[in-house]
């Protein structure tokens, strides 16, 4: 394989893995649910996106024909990540207000 392509694939993999790890560190480390939400939605999504791009470059370089199906997964991840985050935040807010109302009722 061409050394330049190998370098590109290797750096995309390392970059992607590092961002995925950072997102998970955010998930483990930050103090409350809403701040935790930031790590996985942004860093992990970008990390996996970079990884999938590395796969696309690698298979385009090593196998006959272009490898496009990775792009579909990347698109899918980038469209679904905000939706999941949005619904999770909504659910958390709903639970928080429900718990609050229950406290008020109990008094």
């Amino acid at each position: 394989m061409n050394p330049i392509i190998e370098f590109v694939v290797a750096s995309l993999i390392l970059l992607g893995a590092a961002f995925a790890l950072l997102g998970s560190v955010g998930l483990a480390r930050l103090p409350d649910f809403f701040t935790r939400l930031h790590g996985p939605t942004k860093a992990t999504t970008l990390g996996v996106g970079a990884m999938v791009l590395a796969s696309a470059v690698y298979f385009t370089a090593t196998q006959p024909g272009v490898s496009l199906h990775e792009i579909a997964v990347m698109l899918f991840l980038f469209i679904t990540a905000p939706v999941s985050a949005h619904l999770l935040a909504k659910a958390a807010l709903h639970r928080r207000t429900a718990a609050h109302d229950k406290d008020v009722d109990d008094r």
């Binding site: 950072l22 809403f34 701040t35 860093a43 990540a81 807010l93």
Partner: protein, 162 residues
């Protein structure tokens, strides 16, 4: 005639491109199957779709998408730094952004972009008051953030859709 055959031209095009990407555009036969599917699927799902969205200025989309992608990289860098740095120094906040948009689809696009870009996650679009509620990881100055979002993302989206 054209409208009868292609009730949702944009949807058909998107389906065809997705099919081509998923099958690696391997052979003429798979591409033909893709054409058939992208013609048939809009008919089957026609009743599920809300009214066709009119995009006023499609020429603006590539530039805007490039800017959002670039912002996404910068935002990730910023979030990564804050995640690794001291946690106690963060000032997370719930922020409300009053919208000029009045279109649910455009508001959804804005919400998704906001979730992926600067240290913010969108929580809710209030369709009665037209307010976008979001949570910021680190916002010492909420008003500046609101102005930034309106200028950087909402204004171009409004231009594209109306």
């Amino acid at each position: 005639m054209m409208r009868r055959l292609l009730p949702r031209p944009a949807l058909s095009l998107a389906l065809f491109l997705l099919w081509a990407a998923l099958t690696n555009a391997a052979s003429l036969a798979t591409l033909l199957l893709g054409v058939l599917l992208s013609l048939a699927l809009p008919f089957i799902t026609l009743r599920f779709w809300p009214d066709a969205r009119r995009i006023a200025r499609p020429g603006l989309i590539p530039g805007f998408a490039a800017r959002v992608a670039w912002d996404m990289l910068l935002a990730n860098w910023a979030v990564a730094r804050r995640v690794v740095g001291p946690v106690a120094k963060l000032s997370p906040a719930f922020i409300e952004v009053p919208l000029d948009l009045r279109d649910p689809f455009a508001a959804t696009v804005l919400g998704s972009i906001v979730s992926l870009t600067p240290g913010t996650v969108s929580i809710d679009v209030d369709r009665e008051r037209w307010v976008l509620q979001l949570h910021a990881l680190d916002a010492p100055d909420p008003d500046a953030l609101v102005r930034e979002i309106k200028r950087r993302y909402e204004a171009p989206i409004k231009e594209i859709f109306s």
